[in-house]
């Protein structure tokens, strides 16, 4: 998922900022990381309007994030920022160097993609249609990891579904089904074919089945 790290070092740019260098790849400009960060913001600023949150793929030492926060301060905007960084060492070093004193920023470091999609904050953020920005050097370096994040396909088997169910009645109900079938199969094969709806949750499930097959703009149909 993440590339094998052969070498890791922290170098100092020509302008004096610290920069992580992995397998010989500089995650920030070797000359002027601050200017590079300013360019990053300028290039992406048009993507930010009308969105309440931003997901940034790649932390590095956070210069681009700091620049983004400064820009938002100038424009008076408040957005929540989520940063995903696959490399724990990079994150720990950035923290130790005092580079992560950032407001309204949540950092997810060294967390599998699978775990990320279980995180309620990330899910809430994704539901609100965030702006997703890639830090170019980090994105290129961890291409597989980030591609997997962007193209993730959740397992829909009941045993993978149950951990998401917080409702006790529903959890008990679903745990009675074969854990290797999907929720769709429960809805369309099992419950829909029941001759007698002997569990009250059956009605809730059937309501959900009709709801989840709607498109959001569709008007509820009348029963014919």
């Amino acid at each position: 998922m993440t590339p094998v790290i052969h070498s890791y070092e922290i170098k100092t740019s020509k302008q004096g900022e610290k920069t992580p260098v992995i397998n010989g790849v500089h995650l920030h400009s070797a000359y002027d990381p601050m200017k590079e960060a300013a360019n990053f913001v300028e290039k992406n600023i048009h993507l930010l309007s009308g969105r309440n949150s931003i997901i940034i793929l790649g932390l590095g030492f956070g210069y681009h994030i700091k620049a983004l926060i400064n820009q938002m301060k100038i424009s008076g905007e408040k957005k929540e920022i989520f940063v995903i960084e696959p490399n724990r060492t990079v994150w720990e070093d950035a923290k130790e160097l005092g580079l992560l004193d950032l407001e309204n920023v949540t950092i997810y470091a060294d967390i599998t993609v699978d775990e990320l999609y279980k995180d309620p904050k990330i899910i809430k953020c994704l539901l609100n249609k965030p702006t997703i920005l890639a830090h170019p050097a980090s994105f290129n370096f961890y291409q597989d990891y980030f591609s997997n994040f962007l193209g993730f396909k959740a397992s829909q088997k009941i045993h993978d579904t149950l951990p998401f169910i917080t409702d006790t009645e529903l959890s008990e109900y679903l745990s009675k089904f074969d854990s290797n079938i999907t929720l769709e199969e429960v809805l369309y094969d099992d419950i829909s074919k029941k001759k007698v709806l002997n569990n009250n949750v059956d009605f809730l499930m059937l309501a959900y089945r009709h709801l989840s097959s709607q498109s959001s703009t569709e008007k509820s149909e009348e029963i014919l």
Partner: protein
Amino acid sequence: MKNILIINLRRYGDILSTGHLINSILTKEKDASISLLIYEEFQGITKLLKNISQVFTIKRNDILTLKKNALFNDGLAIDQFAHDINNLKKINWSKIINYSNDPISSYLTSYINNLNQSSFYGVSYNHHNLLSYSNGWATVFNDILPTFRFTPFNFVDVYHRLSETIFISEGEKILTRPAHNKMAFDNISKIRKSAGNGTELKIIGIQLKTSDVSKDIPFGEIVKLVDLLLNNPEYYPILLVAPTEEEKSYANRINKYFNNTLVSVEADFLALSSVLLNLDLLVTPDTVIKHLADLLETPLVEVSLGQSPFFKQGTINPHSIILTDLVSSRNFRIEKNKEPETNITGHDIYNAVKCFFDPRLDNTLTFTSKVSLYRPIKDDVGINYTCTSGTKDHLFDLSRSMSRVALLKILKVNINTKIHYQNIILEHRHKLKEWMETQKIEISEASKCLLSALRNLLSIKEKKAGGKDFAHSLEILLDICNTNSLASLATLIFRSKIDNLSSSTMEQNIKDVELLLFELKSNLQIIMESTRELESLFYEDKKLETQRTKSIEVTGI
């Protein structure tokens, strides 16, 4: 305290029109606490409704995003849904009214009802996953109104009937802000008195846009209407604009034709209520604004275009007017956002405005060919619509009026049928014979099909034949459901029941079907009886007419 839950999983207009039912319930049951269950995206409109205890919401958009996007586990979507519904479980509901009667609301009605053992109104599902109807009006709402072309009842009346509530029109149903009311009153009063000659101008608000282009009054016709109103010294038009860039620029385009002299009022829903309260008349093509005006008792000219099914959901204010293209030529399933194809002109709307202020003009003003003017009238059942000017659609209205009487008789509602028949004869005399002949043929055909089905069922019972012939005769019988004849009302009721039979044995099933066929027979007889009653009154009336003519001839008057 009685906790009443109204499940309404429809859109803005339908949620708003719940205000009539809430008002009627609370007038009778003062200690009741009424809550709504709606989709979260329509929550804003509930701020206008008075007397709602709680609004529960289903986060439909979140649920659908979680469900449709492969990134997320489906558990997130269903858990959100369960969480939304969980809030309802904390209350002991004594009454659940399924207002939307769609599959989701019907399953939810069953789910909550099973927890509470409350009484439900409308449609729900039973343990055999079959529909269960609270009463005959639920069948009308669910199985007749969506199918039958000649809508006999308005939704508001049906909602009241199915929830066994008496309609009460008096009472405040909408929340307004005193500051908005004062501002609207002051500003509109100034305009009203601006004629300068001591007379007061009639202020006519024109609402410009709907959410669907096919329902909009064409731009050129609005300009024509404004021009005609401005040229009448008694009227003063003002444009009502929602606070969106699209509407503002639309209003500006209209205003340019009048050298930017028009008054336009920009208001959100909350402020709009105060404006509507101060108008003499509203002209609107929009269903949501129409429902709002009805709840505020502001009279309106409803310009019914596109998909707006006015017999089902038209204005219920007896002072209002509805302008429509000839109903039999209207396509109520027209594609959304398609430019409207209408014969209604700005001049027709202007004439409707004049008819509103002087109903005698209904008989003298002319409208474009194939444009009809209807007025809501209150009869002993509720709101009915009568065409008072323009092109009359006799056969359509005859079917509508007679289906109303026939259904009321089937539902055993006590009405004075004679008055209904007399009105029908008065309005459609010259088309009656033709219509009655067609209906009698249809009823007789339906009866033949019914007898054939009964015969074939009997053969199965006596083990003389298999089910093939019966299935075929049943198919022919159910085809009548699509004929839109009076007889189809009986078969539609029959279909709703036969679709939901849950007999566990063959013998029981045959018995149940037989009972339903006899019920169908009795309903067809009621329909035939209604047609005959109408016919006999018609000939009686004709005889009297002939005698009158003869006596006039004899006396030489």
